[in-house]
C-alpha cells in the first residue's frame, strides 16, 4: 500500500524535524515549530470531523478559542495549574459541542457550515462583551507557564517538547481512530450517507462523536496556544484561526493525521520564509499555497503516496483470512407490509401496496419505469418515510423506522446503481457493512473476505473499487448485503448489466440464500431472469398493485400487459 511506503518518508521527515529542533533551531525557529504543533493538534480534530466525516464544521476555531479562554481565565484569574486547566480546556469545548452538535448536525452541508460559523460569532461577541470575565477586547495577560512535575515549562525547547509530545500522542490517537471502526464508519458516511445508513451505521451518533472528538482536540490546542503566548484575546475566536485549520487539513491531505502535521509545518513556516518582503509576503504565500493545491490536489500526503509508489512501486492491498460471520441469534421471521402509501407532492408514488416476504421465499416486484418499485424499496429500507400503512419485521412494528435501525434489525438492500466508495479497497468496502456489528475493523475484514469468497470474487479483495467492471461491482455490492447475514434482502435490479452466464451464477446464489431462510424481494426488469426464480410476483403500475400471484401467471395477465404496452392484450 502506498500509504505504508510513504510512512518511510514521513518517519524520515519526523527525524529531520527532531534533529532541526534539537540542534539547529533558534528560539524563533522553535517558536514557529511550537505554533505549528499547536495547529497540528487542532487540525487532528478537524481531520476527523471534516476529513473523515465530511462535515464542514466551522466551529473548530471556536472550540480552539474556548479551550484558550478556559486556560486563560482559570490560569490568570484563579491561579489554576496546568494539571487542572488542560483537561478542563478539553472538557468545556466537548460539553459545548454535544448540545450544539445535537442541534445542528442533521443540517445539510452548507447550512451546517453556516450554523457552526454562527457558534464562533456568538462566542466572539461574548468574549468581547464580557470584560469582567474575559478581559474584553484586550483579553487576559499574565497567563502562567505550564507547570509539569513542579517545573515551569519555559519557552523554547521545553515548550516545543511539550507541544510536540502532545502532538505525537494526539496523532497516534487520531491515527488509530481513523484506521479503526470509527474512522472507517465516518469515511463511509462522508462518501454516501444513505448507503451508510442502510449498512446499519447511525449517522447522527457518528457525526456527534466526530464533532465531540474534534472539540477535544481543538480545546487541547487552544490551551497550548495560550501557554505559548501567555495571553488570550478575542483573536483566538476569529475566523482566521478557522481558515488556518481548514487550509492545513486541505493542504496536508484530507482525513490524514500525517497531513495535519505536514500542513501545519508548511503553513506556519511558509509566511516566515518570505517575511523580508514586508507586506508582499502575502502574495507569495498565496501563490505558494495555490501551487501546492494545484500540484498536490490530494494534499501533501497524497503527493507523498504518489512519490512513494513511484520510488518503491505499488504493493497490493493487504488481505484477510476469511471468517464466516455469525448469524443473528433471533432473526426476524420475514417482512409483512400492509397498505403502504407515499406521495411526492401531488403524485402518489406508492398507493396501498401490501406484500408478505416469507423466510425462504423469493418475491419478484415488477412494473414499468416510474411505477414505484424503487420507492417501495426505499420505504421498506427506511430511506423514505411512508405516509401511511404498516410495516412489520418478524412481527415487530417497524413502520417509519430509520434506515440504520432497520439494517440492524436484519434488513439489507442493494441499489439500482451499485454504490461503492471511491478510492477504497474492495475488502474495505465490504467490511464497512460489518462496522456497526463487529468489535473491530480486523474482524469486519475477515467477515468481508468470507462474503467475497462466497460470491466467487475473493481475489478482488486486494484491489480497489475504482474501475471495477459493472458485473463485479454488483457482486461486491451484493457481498456487502450478504456479509450482514440479513433476514430480509431487498435487491434493486441486481442483474442489470450482467451477461447470461453471470445471471445464471447470480440466480444460483439467490436460491442458496433463500434456502438458508432469507426472505428476498427482487426488483427486476429481466423476466427471463426473474420469473424462474420468484415463487410469487407483484406488478406495480402508478404506485398500485395490479398483479399479485404466481410467477407463471404474470405474462398472461391483461392488466400487466396493458401497463407495459399501453393497451390490453387480447386473451
Amino acid at each position: 500500500m502506498a500509504e505504508r511506503r510513504s510512512a518511510v518518508i514521513l518517519v524520515a521527515g519526523a527525524l529531520a524535524l527532531l534533529v532541526y529542533a534539537l540542534a539547529f533551531a533558534s528560539p524563533y525557529g522553535l517558536r514557529v515549530l511550537t505554533v505549528a504543533g499547536v495547529y497540528a493538534l487542532a487540525a487532528f480534530g478537524f481531520q476527523i470531523v471534516f476529513g473523515l466525516g465530511g462535515a464542514l464544521s466551522l466551529a473548530q476555531g471556536a472550540f480552539f478559542g474556548v479551550g484558550a479562554y478556559v486556560t486563560g481565565i482559570l490560569g490568570s484569574r484563579y491561579g489554576f495549574g496546568f494539571e487542572a486547566t488542560f483537561p478542563l480546556s478539553m472538557l468545556v469545548p466537548l460539553l459545548l459541542a454535544l448540545p450544539v452538535g445535537l442541534a445542528v448536525l442533521r443540517l445539510e452541508s452548507h447550512y451546517f457550515a453556516l450554523a457552526t460559523l454562527g457558534i464562533a460569532q456568538v462566542l466572539h461577541l461574548l468574549a468581547v462583551n464580557l470584560p469582567e470575565l474575559t478581559g474584553g477586547s484586550n483579553g487576559l495577560a499574565g497567563v502562567p507557564a505550564a507547570v509539569l512535575f513542579g517545573r515551569a515549562v519555559q519557552r523554547g525547547l521545553p515548550m516545543a517538547g511539550l507541544v510536540w509530545g502532545l502532538v505525537a500522542l494526539g496523532g497516534l490517537i487520531g491515527w488509530r481512530l481513523a484506521r479503526g471502526r470509527l474512522g472507517r464508519s465516518l469515511a463511509m458516511l462522508r462518501d454516501d450517507p444513505l448507503a451508510a445508513a442502510t449498512l446499519g451505521l447511525d449517522v447522527g451518533r457518528l457525526r456527534l462523536a466526530a464533532f465531540g472528538i474534534s472539540a477535544l482536540f481543538a480545546g487541547a490546542a487552544g490551551a497550548l496556544a495560550v501557554h505559548t503566548q501567555r495571553v488570550v484575546s478575542p483573536e483566538v475566536l476569529e475566523f482566521p484561526v478557522m481558515v488556518s485549520i481548514l487550509t492545513i487539513a486541505i493542504v496536508g491531505g484530507r482525513g490524514r493525521m500525517a497531513g495535519a502535521v505536514l500542513g501545519a509545518v508548511l503553513l506556519l513556516h511558509l509566511p516566515e520564509w518570505f517575511r523580508f518582503l514586508e507586506r508582499g509576503y502575502l502574495v507569495v504565500y498565496g501563490v505558494a499555497l495555490l501551487l501546492t493545491v494545484v500540484l498536490a490536489p490530494d494534499g501533501l500526503t497524497g503527493l507523498l503516496d504518489r512519490i512513494a509508489a513511484r520510488l518503491f512501486g505499488r504493493r497490493p492491498r493487504a488481505s484477510a483470512v476469511a471468517m464466516e460471520p455469525p448469524r443473528p441469534p433471533n432473526p426476524p421471521d420475514g417482512l409483512a407490509v400492509d397498505d403502504l402509501r407515499k406521495s411526492f407532492g401531488g403524485v402518489r408514488a406508492v398507493d396501498g401496496v401490501s406484500l408478505d416476504l416469507r423466510p425462504g421465499g423469493i418475491t419478484g416486484l415488477i412494473g414499468p419505469n416510474g411505477s414505484g418499485k424503487s420507492t417501495v424499496i426505499n420505504l421498506l429500507s427506511g430511506l423514505e418515510r411512508p405516509d401511511g400503512g404498516r410495516v412489520r419485521l418478524g412481527g415487530r412494528e417497524v413502520t417509519g423506522l430509520r434506515a440504520d435501525r432497520l439494517a440492524r434489525a436484519g434488513l439489507a438492500r442493494s441499489f439500482q446503481a451499485a454504490v461503492l466508495p471511491i478510492g477504497v479497497g474492495v475488502l474495505e468496502a465490504v467490511a464497512a457493512a460489518r462496522l456497526a456489528v463487529d468489535p473491530d475493523a480486523a474482524t469486519a475484514e475477515a467477515h468481508a473476505r468470507w462474503a467475497l469468497d462466497r460470491l466467487g470474487v475473493g481475489d478482488l479483495a486486494g484491489q480497489g473499487c475504482d474501475g471495477l467492471p459493472a458485473a463485479l461491482r454488483r457482486r461486491v455490492e451484493l457481498a456487502r448485503s450478504l456479509v450482514r447475514r440479513p433476514a430480509v434482502l431487498l435487491l434493486d435490479e441486481p442483474a442489470a448489466g450482467l451477461t447470461d452466464g453471470e445471471k445464471a451464477e447470480l440466480a444460483v446464489l439467490l436460491r442458496e440464500l433463500a434456502e438458508e431462510g432469507v426472505a428476498i424481494l427482487l426488483v427486476e426488469h429481466d423476466m427471463g431472469f426473474l420469473l424462474p426464480l420468484a415463487g410469487r410476483v407483484l406488478c406495480l403500475d402508478r404506485g398500485r398493485v395490479i398483479y399479485d400471484g404466481p410467477a407463471g401467471g404474470v405474462r398472461r395477465d391483461p392488466a400487466v400487459a396493458a401497463a407495459y404496452l399501453g393497451r390490453a392484450v387480447p386473451a
Partner: protein
Amino acid sequence: MRRALPLLIGLLAVSSCLSSAARADDTLSFPVLVPLTGFLSLEGTSQRNGAVLALKQTPAGIAIASEVVDTGTSPEAAVTALERAAGRGTVGAVAASMLGTQMLAMLPLAGELKLPLVTVSGTASITEQGNPWVFRFFPGDAVTKAAHARYVVEELGKRQPAVIYQTTAYGQSGKAHLDAAFEALGVTPVFEEGVDPAAKDLLPVLTKALAAKPDVLVLHLHSGPTALLLRQAASSGVTLPIVAGSAMHQPSTAALLEPAELKGVCAETAASPISGGTPEVKAFTDAYRAAFGKEPDAFALGQYDGMTMVLEAVKAGARSPDAIRKALSAETFQGLAMTYKSDGKGNMAHSAVIVCYDGASRVPVLVKRYDDPTLAAK
C-alpha cells in the same frame, strides 16, 4: 530505527560545531514590527514610515540594521516576529506594534528578552502591566480621552454626547477612559454602543444614536469605520457637531472623504504635522512626503520621535538594550510633536491637541492644545 539513531547523533554532533561559530557583530539592530496588513494597515504603515524615516537619519558613526516585519493583527504573529527579531544580531530597541493586543502579547517576551519596545499604541493597559520595557510615544487614552471629553464639554458646551466606539482593545480602552473623563466633568453620555471594525454599514448605529437626542457625536473608531460613519452622517444630513478619535486626524482617513463631508468635524490627536508648526515639523513633513509620497500623521510623528530619542540615547553612548531602556526611562526629550518624559510606567507623551476641518480642505486646523489634560481635569 537502528539506522536512524546513529544518523541522529551524527547530525547533532555536526550541528554543535556549527552553532559555536556564532557571528560577532557590534551593529545595533532596530527591528520595526508593525501591522501592515489587516484592519490597522493604514495606521501601521504610518508607524512603519515614521520609524524608517528616523532610522534613515542615524547619527554618523553609529552602525545600525533594521528590518520591517508585518505583524498582521494577531498577537501570535507579533510574538513570533519579536522572537525572530531577537535572534538577528544585537537588538537595541524595537519599534513595536500599535495594536494593543499585540503589545500585550509581546510584553512578557520583551521582559524575558530584555528589549525595549517603542510604540505609539494608545491602549492604556500596556503601561499598566508593571513591565519596564515598554515606552509609549503617543499620549495614552488617559490623556487623549481627557482632552477629547474636555473639548466637547468645555469648548463646545455640549452635555449630551452619543459615544460610538470600536469593539476592539483600542475601542474598549478609549470608551472606558471617555466614560471616566465625562464623569469627571459631570456629564453622562445619552448613548453608547460598540461597533465591529468589519461592519460595512454604520447607519443602524448612527440612527440609534440620533434617536437618543444627543447634542454631539463622539467617535472613537479606527480609520476606515470613522470615514464610513462620517460619510453616512453627511449623506443623512446630520448637522450635529462630531468630535472623533485620533484616526480622523490621519490624512489617509481624510482622503477617504470629500472636504464637504468633513465640515464641522473635529478630532483629538497627539499632533497634526500637516497642519504646520515649527520649521522642524515642516522639515519632517517634507522629508516624509519625499520618502513615501504620502502625508504624515501623528502616529508617524510619534514613532519618529520615539526612534529618534532611542538613537539620541545610542549617540550618547547607550550600546545595549538595557542602557537604552535606562535612557528612555530617565531622560527628557524634546521631540517634534511634544516634550517626552516617562511617568515611570513608560508613558512618554502627555499632551494632546484638537484639530478641526473647515469643509473646504482636507488639512485640519489645530484649535486647542492640552498639556497634561488629565491632571488639569482632576
